[in-house]
């Protein structure tokens, strides 16, 4: 029996370097790149690189040899070779000025057909939906591109068509779930057939000339070549799923791919948006009410199925989405011309609202500004000359926040010219163990806002009291106030105090644990603690205490606890030690980040409060001065 040589079997034969692949496929590097992008073939990371590279330890690009063998049977490889021949022949014709032949050849340009590749890369429709993120993001970017050397007009035009069709589907199926304005663009999340599909629409106008080192448009263009086909087929199926005709029919004046629209960028964009403001032709006449009924039935089904946590959660989600679908129903929006319309139109229309804009500036408006039934006018400027009393003038962030919270928020914080509340990302996990800003906490627990406000008021009162303590009457008032607070506090925490002192040990212990876990509750407890502390301090100032209870040194206790934990941590198995250290380091850095954010927030709030106080003091001084002056005058 022949003794097998080294690297004749096993991992070394599983992988093939790029160079070898090129030789095997007899393609140039450019063609190979194109083939890989279109077919979705990517390099693999071997388990043992050295073994896979037949002993060499430098890092090579390795492909799975089965993938390369698979590429060998691909029909488009022949098309790629035909391109080469085509280029050679046309080049010759051009050189010898044989224009008749050239014309004939140009007519016979070998077209690449990608339909089968879509099917092969995404065997089920759900697979295609799962992989739609990159596709949509890139297509939305390309749909705004001007005609470039490497990106023909037809391509960006097709992108534009397909993305609009997709948006129409989103509007018609009401599947938008989350929206977010980031500094990079507008993030959208839709739920299509149970798959979460995210995409970004860049802020206008994203195109800038780039150097080749920075961005190679050729590569992106090849991606888009595939993505257009993929999105086209996906759209087709999605539209048919909703019983809508595909390709969708737009009003004749919309979306004409005439030369004018290509030349004029602004009309190009405005057409694109205008197209979104029209209902699409349906192949059947389904009423919207029916869909609602469907949901109700689902809810009933859910209710029958017991009360396990998952069911409850699902139920909640279903309710939320049901609420979301009709969020803007019956509302009429008018968009001022300084507001970016595209994202707003998508949001408003997919949640049942009606929308229009200045018909004299952009096409596609459905009603005028002086329509009295408009409920909201979206403005993004500090003031408007003519205002109607029948509508709210709000800033665009209101829409986004409403959608993310699944309810119509009070508009007072979003009025024209107001400084807006922070815009929070809907994509963060509410139960994560990192820093959670107070605004987000307030979303999940509305009671927190009130406590904040209350404490603010109290502290202000306190401050005021402190300042007035020269005044005898004020002093009395203060005493009274303190007494009231004390009694109130006694009522609230009277029974809790007793427990506290007895079980301080365990409480502390719990608190320690919580602080280590960095959970939410700890925050609350701290707040409560602060409050009690303050009240305690006041109490001590005011009243005489009878006896002293033995106090356990908290610090020492904590230290002992930490020591014990540390000792236990030293018992981690040697094979886990590195991992353990890494995890601990990560945790620490996370905690540090959290602490930093918390500190910053505290400082900011303190500064704001100080400024407020200063302003108040100044106002009071001014008032006092004025009163004095008045008194002198009367004298």
């Amino acid at each position: 029996m022949r003794r097998p040589k080294k690297y004749e079997s096993g991992e070394a034969t599983q992988y093939i370097s790029r160079r070898a692949a090129l030789r095997k496929l007899q393609l140039s590097l450019n063609d190979f790149r194109r083939l890989c992008i279109l077919k979705g073939v990517y390099p693999r990371e071997p388990k043992h690189r050295r073994r896979a590279q037949k002993g060499s330890s430098e890092i090579k690009v390795l492909y799975h040899s089965k993938d390369i063998r698979f590429l060998l049977h691909e029909p488009i490889v022949w098309t790629l070779r035909d391109y080469k021949i085509f280029a050679k022949k046309t080049g010759r014709d051009r050189a010898i000025k044989d224009f008749r032949n050239l014309k004939r050849r140009l007519a016979l340009f070998p077209e690449i057909k990608l339909d089968h590749i879509v099917k092969e890369r995404y065997p089920t429709f759900i697979d295609a939906l799962k992989d739609l993120d990159d596709c949509l993001t890139l297509m939305f970017l390309f749909s705004t591109f001007p005609s470039l050397h490497l990106i023909p007009r037809e391509q960006s035009n097709l992108c534009r068509r397909l993305t609009i069709e997709f948006l129409h589907y989103i509007i018609a199926s009401k599947s938008l779930r989350k929206v977010f304005i980031s500094i990079k663009g507008y993030y959208f999340q839709a739920e299509i057939k149970g798959q979460k599909v995210n995409w970004i629409v860049p802020h206008y106008y994203p195109f800038k000339p780039q150097s080749r080192q920075e961005v190679d448009f050729k590569v992106m263009s090849i991606f888009v070549e595939f993505f257009t086909i993929m999105l086209g087929f996906t759209n087709f199926r999605l539209f048919h799923g909703l019983n809508m005709a595909y390709p969708p029919q737009f009003p004749s004046n919309m979306l004409q791919d005439s030369e004018d629209t290509f030349k004029d960028e602004s009309s190009f964009v405005s057409d694109r948006i205008a197209a979104l403001n029209f209902e699409l032709l349906r192949t059947d006449k389904v009423q919207e009410d029916e869909e609602d009924i469907d949901i109700d039935i689902d809810m009933d089904l859910l209710e029958q199925d017991g009360d396990s946590k998952r069911i409850i959660k699902m139920k909640q989600e279903a309710q939320e989405t049901a609420r979301l679908r009709t969020l803007f129903k019956g509302l009429k929006f008018y968009i001022n011309r300084e507001v970016p319309r595209e994202p707003l139109v998508i949001i408003i229309r997919s949640f049942g609202g009606k929308v229009s804009w200045d018909s004299s500036v952009f096409a596609g408006a459905t009603f005028d500004e002086n329509d009295e039934t408009i409920t909201h006018q979206i403005v993004d400027r500090p003031s408007v000359s003519t205002q109607y009393i029948s509508r709210d003038y709000i800033q665009p962030q209101w829409l986004f926040d409403c959608v993310n919270q699944r309810q119509l928020l009070p508009t007072n914080k979003y009025f024209m010219g107001e400084s807006l509340p922070p815009h929070l990302s809907p994509f963060v996990d509410a139960k994560r163990d990192t820093y959670i800003p107070p605004e987000e906490k307030a979303l999940h627990d509305p009671s927190l806002i009130e406590t904040h406000a209350q404490s603010d008021d109290e502290s202000e009162d306190e401050a005021a009291a402190e300042e007035d303590d020269v005044d005898q009457e004020a002093l009395d008032a203060q005493l009274q106030l303190a007494y009231q607070q004390e009694t109130a506090e006694y009522k609230k925490y009277g029974d809790a105090d007793g427990v506290n002192e007895d079980e301080e040990d365990t409480d502390e212990y719990l608190e320690e644990e919580q602080s280590e876990e960095g959970s939410e509750e700890e925050e609350e407890e701290e707040e409560v603690d602060e409050k009690t502390k303050r009240l305690q301090a006041e109490k001590e100032k005011m009243s005489v205490q009878s006896g002293k209870v033995h106090k356990v040194n908290k610090r020492q206790l904590h230290k002992a606890e930490v020591d014990e934990h540390r000792l236990q941590a030293r018992m981690v198995k040697p094979r886990h030690r590195d991992l353990f250290r890494k995890l601990i380091r990560e945790k620490q850095s996370k905690e540090k980040e959290q602490w930093l954010l918390k500190k910053k927030r505290r400082n900011i709030e303190a500064d704001a409060k100080e400024a407020k106080k200063q302003a108040k003091r100044d106002a009071r001084k001014a008032a006092a001065a004025a009163a004095q002056a008045a008194a002198q005058l009367t004298k």
Binding site: V41, Y42, E45, P46, H64, K66, F70, H73, L114, D115, K119, E120, P123, T124, F125, K130, D131, D134, T137, L138, I181, I183, K193, N198, H203, P206, F207, E214, V215, F223, F236, E338, V339, P340, D380, Q395, L420, P422, L424, S425, F427, V428, P437, E440, E564, L567, Q568, A569, R570, M571, V572, L579, F580, L583, K587, E593, L597, K598, K600, R601
Partner: protein
């Protein structure tokens, strides 16, 4: 050439006028007929002949221009026309005129106005010379006749330096006319009434007097009007080629017959085409265009029949889908909460990491905008999309299991220390008195007294409960090790000081025992066995001298090298000493009752660190730097070799039941050996942060303690079960860290109280501490 063209044009413009004049003068009957309709076309437009005539006259006009090159031909033509055989010449003329037209149009090309004026002046000057004489009467053409000077079209200033200005036809110099000075000019200006209309011909230098017509012409040209004042720009339009179909043919000749018959060859061609169209071999241009249109762009159809069904197709091997991009957090918002914005320090740090962007905590700088309209396009958006594309097709993929566990999960689940009490938790006593680091401590078997040995060359005996130092015994050398005899019926302390081993009666506790011990040690037994030379040179037994007797020293065993460690056998008759420098005689076993020493090993297996007697079996543990060897003392053979896999062993301790051994090493580790299980450690503990100096098992409780250079004593629970199937349980319980640090040393020795769960530790800070 341009000049010539300009002249030609001038001529053309002037000519009609002349012609009219000529026509008027000649008053030929036919001519009159011809010209009349031009002047007022309203008279008879319907007259066919008239139209024909006009045609002719028009063409004749054109023909005159032709004459420029052809000389006399023109005159003949004119005469022919005048003779008036019309009908035949019509066709030819019309053809020629058609040919001519483009040429004439070409001539009318634009030229700069300044030049044209001087040129017109020239032309006019020439034409003016003999206005009464028609040009055509001359034998020569107008152009040639004008040019007297033969130098051609050159800048005339080349002749400025010469007296002549060129050459005439006879090659004679044309002399420049005398040029008066300025005064002459002035005088002429005053005297000559025609001075203002006198022009100098640049070609010949002759003076030319302009006529009134010329001046009028110049004025018209200057004011950009048509030079001919009689030309009417707004003449009524005459529809020469009427669109109405005439009933009668214009020509007299009837069409040929074949023009009425269909062509056979054409018919064949057509039928072939029709057939090709029918068969679809040929397409109309419309069809071709439509097909092209339809072909452009991809066609979409229902690719997937259902959402989840999967058609069996060859796919790439073991597909790994690319991970999705992270979704944005609050920091990426256009209006984030204020704490997410960078302060100056963070900004600086962010900018500093420009070359290593992966080290930044965020890949972008958070920004806040007051309103949506102020948000610009993100400058790196394209780049980010491009990088994602690169990732998709260039990044190697593999399936990896990502560990998503909490760090706490990796800590083994051990019982809580609360449940494993009692164990020492607090420092309760500090024994001070030594002036140098305390090397060793040992407790009396009953647990009332304690002995310690220090580098200050003293041994101190302490009462444990009060912390009182009962006795201090000075020795002559550094005390390396002290060991109280474990037999409670004897009161002996073995003290290793320098190279001497002292057996001391501490004289504390039961008087009877003290007395008994003294008696026992007083007399040396008779030795019937003769020691060999090897032992004799290594060890000498002797009774202590009187001075030392007073201190309590009873027996002195002098070794040939400094002793490092001394340890008792459980029964108190045997004790073993270690001399690291002793080579193959480094470990010795002494028998007290027979006052005899043995050297168990003939060969050195390495640098012996410490030795230990097995509590139950006749076994002897010897620890060298790396390994531990277990010898059977009865059979005198090696039983086992334990592999510690550590650099340097510092000490060891055996579990009272004798099946488990604890080893401390200078490389921070403690090793737990289960002697029944394996020669490799059952568990390696890294509880200390620095070299571990000593370990000790408690005799009663399942506890052990370790002391280390990091000044900590760590008490652990080490439970050994009787059930052989159950592994020992090891739980670290308490870290006691009260010793102070002196020159890199912390705790040097630990020892347990024989009865109570109390631990003693000696430190480099000259103290002994008791933890209870």
């Amino acid at each position: 050439m341009a000049k010539k063209a300009a002249i030609k044009r001038k001529v053309k413009e002037i000519q009609p006028k002349k012609e009219q004049e000529i026509a008027a003068e000649e008053s030929d009957s036919e001519n009159e007929d011809l010209l009349q309709p031009i002047k007022d076309p309203g008279e008879d437009t319907t007259d066919d002949e008239g139209i024909d005539q006009e045609y002719q006259s028009d063409s004749s006009e054109e023909l005159e221009f032709e004459s420029d090159d052809e000389g006399n031909y023109l005159g003949k033509k004119n005469k022919e026309e005048q003779s008036g055989d019309d009908s035949e010449s019509v066709e030819e003329d019309s053809e020629s005129s058609e040919d001519e037209k483009p040429a004439s149009v070409k001539d009318d090309g634009p030229s700069s106005s300044n030049k044209t004026i001087t040129k017109t002046l020239q032309a006019i000057a020439e034409s003016v010379r003999d206005p009464s004489k028609p040009e055509y009467e001359d034998s020569d053409t107008s152009d040639e006749e004008d040019i007297r000077n033969t130098v051609g079209n050159i800048p005339m200033h080349w002749y400025d330096e010469y007296k002549h200005i060129g050459y005439d036809w006879d090659a004679k110099k044309i002399v420049k006319p005398p040029k008066g000075d300025q005064i002459d000019d002035f005088l002429r200006k005053i005297e000559d009434p025609n001075f203002w209309r006198t022009v100098k011909d640049p070609q010949t230098g002759q003076e030319v007097l302009l006529t009134d017509e010329d001046i009028a012409l110049i004025k018209r040209i200057n004011s950009a009007r048509i030079p001919n004042p009689e030309h009417n720009e707004y003449e009524p339009w005459i529809d020469w080629f009427t669109s109405e179909v005439e009933k009668m043919p214009i020509k007299n000749v009837p069409d040929h017959k074949r023009s009425f018959l269909p062509s056979v060859s054409e018919k064949k061609k057509v039928s072939r085409m029709v057939h090709a169209l029918k068969m679809g071999w040929m397409k109309t241009s419309e069809e071709v265009e439509r097909e092209k249109q339809a072909k452009r762009g991809p066609k979409f159809y229902m690719l997937w029949e259902t959402d989840t069904s999967r058609e069996h197709m060859r796919r790439i091997h073991d597909p790994v889908s690319a991970p999705k991009r992270d979704l944005p957090g609050h920091a990426e918002s256009y209006n984030p909460p204020p704490e997410y914005l960078f302060d100056a320090k963070e900004t600086k740090e962010w900018l500093k990491l420009k070359d290593e962007p992966h080290k930044r905590k965020l890949h972008f700088m958070p920004q806040k905008f007051k309103s949506l309209r102020e948000v610009p396009a993100y400058s790196r958006y394209l780049r980010e999309r491009f990088l994602r594309c690169l990732d998709l097709y260039l990044c190697p993929r593999a399936k990896r299991v990502k560990l998503n566990i909490d760090a706490e999960y990796l800590i083994p689940k051990l019982p809580s220390p609360r449940d494993l009490q009692p164990f020492p938790t607090v420092e309760s006593m500090v024994y001070r008195g030594h002036t140098d680091l305390v090397r060793s401590v040992s407790v009396e078997p009953k647990g009332e007294y304690m002995v310690s040995g220090s580098d200050d060359k003293t041994v101190k005996i302490w009462e444990i409960s009060t912390g009182r130092c009962i006795r201090t015994i000075d020795t002559e050398d550094v005390v390396r090790c002290v060991a109280w005899c474990p037999n409670s019926k004897l009161s002996i302390i073995a003290v290793a000081t320098g190279s001497r081993l002292l057996l001391i009666n501490p004289k504390v506790g039961d008087k009877l025992i003290i007395k008994k011990t003294d008696d026992l040690l007083a007399e040396s037994p008779n030795l019937d066995v003769i020691d060999n030379e090897r032992i004799k040179t290594a060890v000498q037994w002797a009774n202590a001298d009187t001075q030392e007797q007073e201190k309590g020293v009873r027996v002195v065993i002098t070794h040939f090298k400094p002793i490092r460690q001394v340890t008792w056998h459980g029964r108190g008759d045997y004790l073993a000493t270690v001399m690291p420098e002793g080579a193959n005689r480094s470990a010795l076993i002494h028998q007290l009752s027979k006052r005899r020493s043995q050297i168990p090993f003939s060969k050195s297996k390495g640098l012996v660190q410490c030795v230990l007697f097995h509590p139950v079996k006749p076994c002897f543990f010897v620890a060298t730097q790396h390994n531990i060897r277990i010898y059977d003392l009865v059979k005198q053979e090696l039983i086992k070799k334990l592999l510690t896999n550590s650099k340097w062993i510092s000490g060891m301790s055996i579990h009272p039941k004798g099946d488990n051994l604890l080893v401390s090493t200078y490389d921070k580790k403690m090793l737990w050996f289960d002697l029944d299980l394996s020669t490799k450690p059952y568990q390696t503990m890294r509880l200390h942060r620095n070299a571990v100096r000593s370990v000790a098992f408690h005799l009663r409780y399942p506890l052990f303690a370790s002391g280390s250079d990091d000044q900590a004593v760590i008490v652990s629970h080490g439970m050994v079960y009787n059930d052989l199937l159950q592994n020992p349980l090891i739980v670290p319980l308490k870290k006691l860290q009260t010793h102070e640090k002196r020159d890199e040393f912390g705790v040097l020795d630990v020892n347990w109280h024989p009865v109570q769960p109390w631990v003693f530790s000696t430190g480099a800070d000259c103290t002994i501490r008791l933890y209870t």
